[in-house]
Symmetry: C2
Subunit: 115 residues, 2 copies
Amino acid sequence: MSSLSFATTPDPPYYAVIFASQRTDADPFGYYEASERMLELAAQQPGYLGVESARSADGFGITVSYWDSEEAIAAWKRNAEHAEVRKRGRLEWYEHFELRVAKVERAYAGPRADR
Amino acid sequence: MSSLSFATTPDPPYYAVIFASQRTDADPFGYYEASERMLELAAQQPGYLGVESARSADGFGITVSYWDSEEAIAAWKRNAEHAEVRKRGRLEWYEHFELRVAKVERAYAGPRADR
C-alpha cells in the first residue's frame, strides 16, 4: 500500500473508521492482494471520502477510512465481497484488531502556525 | 515506538485525535527522542485514555490518541513542552500532516464474529 498517503476530505463533519490491527505472519501475499482489492472496492462505494494507512515493521497497523455518513459505513459493511474478506481477516490475517467509528468534528493541516 | 500497540479504551463516547503525517528525512534521532517524550508526557495528562501509532517504511505514519473530553485535548494542546515540540515538528520533522479531532461513537474488537 505504498501509494497511499493523505486523504483529501471535505470540511467536517464526516465519519472516520479507525481500524488498528496486529497482523499474523500468515499469508502475506493473500493479505496484500485482498488489501489492494478492498481499497479499490471501498473507493467505489457511495459516501467514500478517502483512506489513510500505515503499518510498522512489527506488523501493527492503522487504517482510517473516511465516509460522509453512518449509512455509507453500514452499506460498506454489508458489501458481500467485503464481508467475505473480513471473515478471512479474522481467521487468518489478524491476531487482533480494534475498530472504532468516530465523527470528525474539526480538522486542520500543517506544517504551518496553529490555527 | 515499538512498544506501542492497542489502546485500552472505555466504552464510547470518548474522543480521538487522528494525526497522519509524512516524515522528512531530517533528524531521526531528535524525532525519536521527542516522540518518546511526548508519549510519556501525554500519558500523564488528565483525561488521557491511550495511544496507537504505526509508521510505514516510507515515512507515512498515523498516530491516534484517545481522550475523555474535548477539554482534555485542549489542555494537552496548551501544554508548553508539547507546544514547543509541535513547533519543531512543523519546522523539521514533518513534510505534511493532517490532524482530525473526532468523537468515537462505537467500537468493537476482533477476531470474532461480527456483532
